[in-house]
């Protein structure tokens, strides 16, 4: 077997069009063969199958037939509408047929020999009507509840799978997970080409969906469990471990938003597609500095995606306006988009997927996550680091410049809390407040910045009606004259 496999060319694949799933299956499901999708109730089996059919019909010119044993066409159409699938239109365009096969044991009497030829006839008719290449059976095990003679049923299912294979149909068969088997009725015995398992787990009251390719005959595939997401744009699978350290490292620079701060990082700002950590205790001005960065990016015509884990977009825009930074105009223009979410609303993986998805859809040049520390409460340090690694890899692959703010609880903890994530960052900027002459003064300094000569100065700054203003270096503490002047200008 193993020897033969070496000589055999790679199987033909039928792409699912589901982002990520085609990566972990190296191209899709085995073409012309059945794939078993098993999972518990609500694990997303039907949705995965429907995505396979809809994408097949829309993107790959492969019309489909959905034999539904559980829901009628109207119910199904309703269920998947929230995910952006319009089954009715596809049916009207003759790209899809939904046939509801209803079996009610209470109204059927069995007497003597029978077969399931009626099912074959219906399937064949449907296939002919649209020229189907893809078929989904959802969930054929329902038949076991409708017919008493399981001997006949098993023999007929075996015949059905062979029949579909002979016709070169790519088939998705959904099944409820059994106690010890992948399916309640042991369907895996008949479908040996590919088995996909879906899972919906709740841990610490936070749910995460996971997908695993259990088996894929004749093809390599990712073997891990991958988190996946179901939202209004359908299913997204995140093949996390497929990421490699291969991203480009552009030498182009992007402004920090403040010429004086640009000067501190090699005179030109951050590298494009690099990562910036902006950390400090509460109220030091991290978000204001981030807003400058956003403002500058949008002013260059770039798109910015801002993840908020603490404030609402309206609140942030109002506060920044008060500090003289009008980012609302970019929001109104569509250059700035927000993604506000409470960290404890999902598990880390779901957050990761949401972020991926948002980035995928908006395709930003610049991303801000404010504050990244809030996510740390959601998982263990190891998990958070792993997740951030994935986010950063992903952003770098896309050439996105990312700024993360990090909230430190005390000045002492500043450098140690972030030991966890700082190694992932290319540039690390610290902001702090120190008391001096019974006045709290803000300071900023660059702790590290890879690949550039950066300033080692600790610069004072203030936030006024025009945003952040960095104090001249040599005069920071030395010349009382300048300090007085700025003090006088500031209304108290």
């Amino acid at each position: 077997m193993a020897k033969r496999r070496l000589e055999r060319p790679e199987l033909h694949k039928a792409p699912t069009g589901i982002p990520g799933l085609d990566d972990i299956t190296n191209g899709g499901l085995p073409q012309g063969r059945p794939t078993l999708v098993s999972g518990g109730p609500g694990s997303g089996k039907t949705l995965l199958g429907v995505s396979f059919l809809v994408n097949g019909a829309q993107q790959f010119s492969e019309p489909g037939v959905l034999l539904s044993f559980e829901e009628n066409a109207a119910e199904l159409a309703q269920d998947v509408r929230s995910l952006g699938y319009d089954l009715d239109t596809l049916v009207a365009q003759k790209k899809l047929i939904v046939d509801y096969v209803h079996v009610d044991r209470s109204e059927i009497e069995e007497t003597g020999e029978y077969d399931l030829e009626g099912l074959f006839v219906r399937l064949e008719l449907a296939i002919r009507e649209v020229g189907a290449k893809r078929v989904m059976l959802d969930t054929i095990e329902t038949l076991f509840g409708g017919l008493k003679d399981t001997g006949i049923l098993r023999a007929e299912l075996r015949r059905l799978f062979r029949w579909m294979r002979d016709r070169g149909l790519t088939v998705v068969i959904t099944a409820e997970r059994g106690e010890q088997m992948f399916t309640r009725q042991g369907l895996e015995e008949y479908i040996t080409d590919a088995v996909i398992s879906l899972d919906h787990r709740v841990h610490d009251q936070i749910s995460t969906r996971r997908i695993r390719v259990v088996k894929y005959r004749g093809s390599t595939h990712g073997t891990n469990e991958y988190p996946f997401l179901i939202n209004r744009d359908g299913i997204t699978v995140l093949p996390v471990t497929s990421m490699l350290l291969e991203h480009e490292a552009p030498s182009e620079r992007v402004s920090t938003g403040l010429p004086a701060l640009d000067e501190m990082v090699g005179g030109k700002g951050y590298y494009r597609a690099s990562t910036v950590l902006m950390s400090g205790t509460a109220g030091t001005g991290k978000t204001t500095l981030a807003a400058h960065f956003v403002d500058a990016a949008c002013a260059r015509g770039e798109k910015c995606l801002y993840f908020l884990f603490e404030e609402s977009p309206q609140q942030l825009m109002r506060n920044m306006r008060a500090a003289g930074i009008d980012i609302q105009r970019w929001y109104d223009k569509g250059l700035l988009q927000f993604h506000a979410d409470r960290p404890n609303r999902h598990g880390l993986e779901t957050h990761l997927l949401e972020m991926h998805h948002a980035v995928e859809v908006f395709d930003p040049d610049v991303v801000v996550m404010d504050p990244i520390t809030n996510l740390m409460a959601v998982g263990t340090q190891v998990d958070v680091r792993a997740m951030l690694t994935r986010v950063i890899d992903y952003l770098k692959t896309r050439g996105v410049t990312a700024l993360f703010t990090s909230l430190a609880t005390s000045v002492q903890s500043l450098e140690q809390t972030e030991a966890l994530i700082s190694s992932l960052m290319d540039t690390w900027i610290l902001v702090a407040i120190k008391e001096e002459n019974r006045k709290r003064k803000r300071w900023v300094y660059v702790l590290k910045s890879r690949g550039m000569p950066h300033s080692h100065d600790v610069r004072g700054f203030e936030i006024g009606a025009q945003g952040v203003r960095l104090m001249p270096i040599e005069n920071d503490a030395a010349t009382p004259a300048k300090a007085k002047r700025t003090k006088a200008r500031r209304p108290k």
Binding site: E107, I108, E109, E110, G112, E117, L119, L125
Partner: protein
């Protein structure tokens, strides 16, 4: 319209289909003489008719009238079961 309107779904002249038809004729003659009609529907010729009556197994006997609709699948070789299915015999509790 007959009191008992029956439809027998088959797919071609298979041995099972032939058996089912002759069993059905016999049962009807004995128990429903003059009160029935049988329509044989061959899904090989009219595949689209299978959807309306939710036909899955073949042969399937559908009792269209009297209401409610009843379905009996198989070659109808067990007369007792057919009579129960057509409500001509009371249903015995499950053994």
């Amino acid at each position: 319209m007959s009191e008992y309107a029956l439809k027998l779904y088959v797919a071609g002249q298979t041995p099972k289909a032939v058996r089912a038809f002759s069993n059905l004729r016999k049962i009807c003659e004995e128990h429903l003489e003059g009160r029935y009609s049988i329509e044989v529907i061959d899904l090989v010729e009219n595949p689209q008719l299978g959807r309306g009556d939710q036909i899955l197994a073949l042969p399937t006997l559908v009792r269209q009238l009297p209401a409610p609709i009843k379905k009996i699948i198989g070659d109808l070789s067990n007369t007792e079961r057919v009579l129960v299915g057509l409500d001509l015999r009371p249903r015995r509790s499950t053994t």
